[in-house]
C-alpha cells in the first residue's frame, strides 16, 4: 500500500532522515519505534506531504506522491493523526467529526450515518457531542481525533503517539481500538514511544535511530530482540553498543 524508498529530510542543514526505506502492506499494522529525535514524526510528516523531501520516492497505492500537496494526499486516503493539535478545540465534537469529512465534501450526503457509525465505535463521543473539544479529557480527545480521521475514510491511517500522556487504562483502550480498526480493514502506520504495546499489536515494525532504519522484523521478533529490549523496553539500558 505504501512504499517509501530512500527518503532524506532536512531541518535547514541538519539531516534528520537518511535514505529511509520501508513499506506497509494492505491490512497491516506497522509500527515505527525509536528514541526522541530519531526522526519518527518527521517521517510521518514527509509521508503526508507536510515536510518536504529532496529525494527518494513515496509511492502510495501505486502512485508516486512526492511533491504532492498534503490535501491531495489526504484525498487519496492517507490520513495522519498528529501528536499534538489533533482536534479543533473551539469546535464541538460534532463539528470536529464533520470537519473530518472535509476532504470528501463532494462525495455525497451520508454524513449523519457515518457519524452514527463513529458514535457506535466511541460511545463516549455521543455523550459529549455538543461539548467543545477543548473541554474533553486526554483519552476522549484521542478518541475524537481517531473518529475525525475515520470520517476521512482512510485507506492508511498514520497515528503519531496515540498513547502519549494517557492513563494506563485509557492506553490499553486506545490500542484495543487501533487493533479493531485494523480488523475492519484499515491499514495502520503507528509511531509510538510505548514500544512494548506497539510491538505487541503490530504485524511488523521498524526501528529508527538518528534518521536511519537500524532494525526491522515482526512485532514478536523485535519484542524479543536484545537491542530493542535495552533501548526501549527498559532492560538495563547502558548505551546500546557497549561490549
Amino acid at each position: 500500500m505504501l512504499k517509501i524508498r530512500n527518503i532524506d529530510a532536512f531541518f535547514g542543514n541538519i539531516q534528520v532522515l537518511r535514505r529511509v526505506s520501508l513499506h506497509v502492506g494492505a491490512g497491516e499494522i506497522v509500527s515505527l519505534i525509536g528514541a526522541n529525535g530519531a526522526g519518527k514524526t518527521t517521517l510521518l510528516n514527509v509521508i503526508s506531504g507536510l515536510h518536504p523531501t529532496r529525494n527518494g520516492s513515496k509511492i502510495f497505492m501505486d502512485v508516486e506522491t512526492r511533491g504532492w500537496k498534503p490535501e491531495k494526499i489526504v484525498a487519496r486516503g492517507l490520513i495522519q493523526v498528529p501528536e499534538t493539535d489533533k482536534v479543533f478545540n473551539p469546535l464541538t465534537v460534532m463539528e470536529n467529526l464533520e470537519v473530518g469529512a472535509y476532504s470528501r465534501r463532494r462525495a455525497g450526503t451520508k454524513l449523519p450515518q457515518e457519524i452514527e457509525a463513529i458514535f457506535q465505535l466511541f460511545p463516549i463521543l455521543r455523550e459529549r457531542k455538543d461539548q467543545l473539544a477543548g473541554t474533553l479529557s486526554g483519552g476522549e480527545r484521542q478518541m475524537l481525533a481517531l473518529g475525525k480521521a475515520l470520517m476521512g475514510r482512510p485507506k492508511l491511517l498514520m497515528l503519531d503517539e496515540p498513547s502519549l500522556g494517557l492513563a494506563p487504562t485509557i492506553v490499553a483502550e486506545i490500542f484495543r481500538i487501533i487493533q479493531s480498526l485494523n480488523g475492519r480493514g484499515t491499514t495502520i502506520l503507528l509511531v509510538e514511544q510505548n514500544a512494548r504495546e506497539a510491538l505487541r499489536i503490530s504485524h511488523r515494525a521498524y526501528v529508527l535511530d538518528t534518521g536511519r532504519i537500524i532494525l526491522a522484523g515482526t512485532g514478536g521478533e523485535l519484542l524479543s530482540n536484545d537491542e530493542v529490549k535495552r533501548a526501549f523496553l527498559g532492560k538495563d539500558y547502558r548505551g546500546k553498543w557497549e561490549r
Partner: protein
C-alpha cells in the same frame, strides 16, 4: 507442492527485490555503525552507507573474504555485544588462524526455519522419521536437523557416527523414512547393506538429504537406486549457516537460495566483476537478516551460477546450480573440509619433515574417500633406523588427524 512459507517463498520477484533492498540498507547501517572492520573498509573506498540506494549499489561494497574473518578473530566481526550472542561456532578444518561465528537467538530461529523450509520442500512432514547420520562433532550443522525437524513435527534419530551396520539396523527397527548424511556415508551404508544382503525394499526410506561435500549426479543415481529413495542436495556456507543457505525442491532444478535472508551474486573470481544470471563464477553472499555476524559480499569460494526464473515448484527464490568446484584449494574428504594450507602448517611444526608434500585422494564413485599425504623428509631420517621412521610417520599422522579431524595415510619421501 509443499511450501513451508508460501507467502515468502513464492512472493513476486519485484516485491522480493524491494524487501532485499530494505534489508540491505538495514544490515549496512548495522555493519557500518557496529563493526569497525566494515567502517574501515567503507571509509577506505570512500563509500558512505547512505549512498547505497538500490541493489545496484551493492557492487560498490568491498568483498569480505575468509582472510578478513581470520584477521578479526575472535570477536572483531561481531555486530552485537557478546551478551546477545547465544551460540559460538568454531568451524574445523580452517588453516592458519581460526574463526568463530556468533549467533543471536533470532539468528538461530531464522536458521531453524530455513532448514525446515528445505525439509518441507522435499516432502518431509510430521509423519517422517529422519535419521541424521552426520558427524555431530565435526559437522556443526548436524544439530540443526534436530531443531528444524522438531519445528515441522518430524521425529529425529541422531545416529551420528554409528557404524553403517548400526545405521541399517536402526533404519529397519525404527522404520526411518529419511536419511540425512554426507553422500559418501550413504554409499558406505549401501556397501554395508550389500555385504549383509539386505534388500532396500525392506526399509521404509523415501527421502535423502545430502550435503557437506560435492557429489556428482552419478553418485545421486547410485544412492537413489540402491536405497530406493529420492536424494536431494542441500547447501550451506560454514561461515554463515551450514546447511540452510539453499536446498533443492522436488523439481530438482537447482537449489533455491533463501533470498529473503541471503543476497546472492556470482562474480568472476579473477576480476571481481558481477556476472549475469546463468553465467558460472564464484558465489558471493550478503546476509540480509543476520544480527550477530553480518557478512557483506562474502566470497564463498564455491563455483556456481544463478537462475531467477520461477521454478515449476512455484517458488520465486533464485536457484543456484549444484556446486562441484571451488576457487580455492579446499577439498572435501568424506564430508570433511581439508585446506592444503593446513597440512603445510602441520608439517612445518615437525622437525625434519616438509615443507614440501604432495596429496593424493583415493576416489570411490567419484567421491574422495581416503587422503594420502606424501611428506618430504630429511635424508638422515629416510636413511636412518626403520623404527625412527615409523615413529615419525605416526607423529605426522597423529598431528594431521588432530588438525584435520580425519585419518590420513602418511608416507615419507625423499626431498626433491
Amino acid at each position: 507442492m509443499p511450501i513451508f512459507k508460501p507467502d515468502i517463498e513464492t512472493m513476486g520477484r519485484e516485491e522480493l527485490l524491494e524487501l532485499q533492498n530494505e534489508r540491505l540498507q538495514i544490515v549496512v547501517n548495522q555493519a557500518y555503525s557496529n563493526v569497525d572492520f566494515y567502517r574501515r573498509k567503507f571509509d577506505e573506498v570512500g563509500l558512505n552507507p547512505d549512498d547505497l540506494k538500490s541493489l545496484e549499489d551493492l557492487k560498490r561494497i568491498p568483498f569480505t573474504t575468509r582472510k578478513d574473518l581470520m584477521e578479526n578473530y575472535p570477536y572483531g566481526m561481531f555486530a552485537v555485544p557478546l551478551r546477545d550472542v547465544v551460540r559460538l561456532q568454531f568451524p574445523l578444518g580452517l588453516y592458519g588462524n581460526p574463526i568463530v561465528i556468533g549467533y543471536t537467538r533470532e539468528d538461530l530461529k531464522i536458521w531453524r526455519e530455513l532448514v525446515a523450509r528445505i525439509m518441507v520442500g522435499v516432502g518431509l512432514t510430521e509423519h517422517d522419521i529422519i535419521q541424521v547420520a552426520f558427524n555431530y562433532g565435526l559437522f556443526l550443522g548436524a544439530v540443526r536437523f534436530n531443531q528444524s525437524a522438531e519445528l515441522i513435527g518430524a521425529a529425529v534419530v541422531p545416529t551420528s557416527i554409528a557404524s553403517a551396520e548400526v545405521q541399517v539396523r536402526i533404519m529397519q527397527d525404527f522404520r526411518s523414512t529419511a536419511l540425512a548424511s554426507t553422500p559418501s556415508f550413504a554409499l558406505h551404508i549401501i556397501e554395508a547393506m550389500g555385504k549383509k544382503g539386505i534388500d532396500p525394499r525392506t526399509l521404509s526410506l523415501k527421502i535423502g538429504l545430502f550435503g557437506a561435500e560435492s557429489w556428482p549426479e552419478g553418485v545421486r543415481q547410485a544412492i537413489e537406486e540402491n536405497l530406493r529413495i529420492k536424494a536431494y542436495d542441500i547447501y550451506g556456507v560454514m561461515e554463515l549457516v551450514e546447511p540452510g543457505v539453499a536446498g533443492e525442491c522436488v523439481a530438482r532444478a537447482g537449489l533455491h537460495i533463501f533470498e529473503d535472508h541471503f543476497l546472492p551474486e556470482v562474480i568472476d573470481p579473477q576480476t571481481g566483476q558481477v556476472l549475469d544470471s546463468g553465467q558460472e563464477g564464484e558465489l558471493v553472499i550478503t546476509t540480509l537478516t543476520t544480527s550477530a555476524y553480518p557478512l557483506l559480499r562474502y566470497r564463498t569460494s564455491d563455483v556456481t551460477s544463478l537462475h531467477t526464473e520461477r521454478c515449476s515448484c512455484g517458488r520465486t527464490m533464485a536457484r543456484m546450480d549444484r556446486v562441484f568446484k571451488r576457487t580455492d584449494e579446499m577439498i572435501s574428504v568424506r564430508g570433511i573440509n581439508v585446506f592444503p594450507e593446513k597440512i603445510q602448517e602441520v608439517l612445518a611444526t615437525i622437525e625434519g619433515i616438509g615443507p614440501s608434500y604432495s596429496m593424493d585422494v583415493a576416489e570411490k564413485s567419484g567421491m574422495n574417500d581416503r587422503l594420502k599425504v606424501r611428506a618430504e623428509a630429511r635424508e638422515d631420517i629416510l636413511e636412518g633406523k626403520e623404527e625412527r621412521k615409523i615413529v615419525l610417520q605416526e607423529v605426522v599422522q597423529l598431528a594431521l588427524r588432530r588438525a584435520l579431524g580425519l585419518r590420513v595415510e602418511v608416507e615419507l619421501t625423499k626431498r626433491a
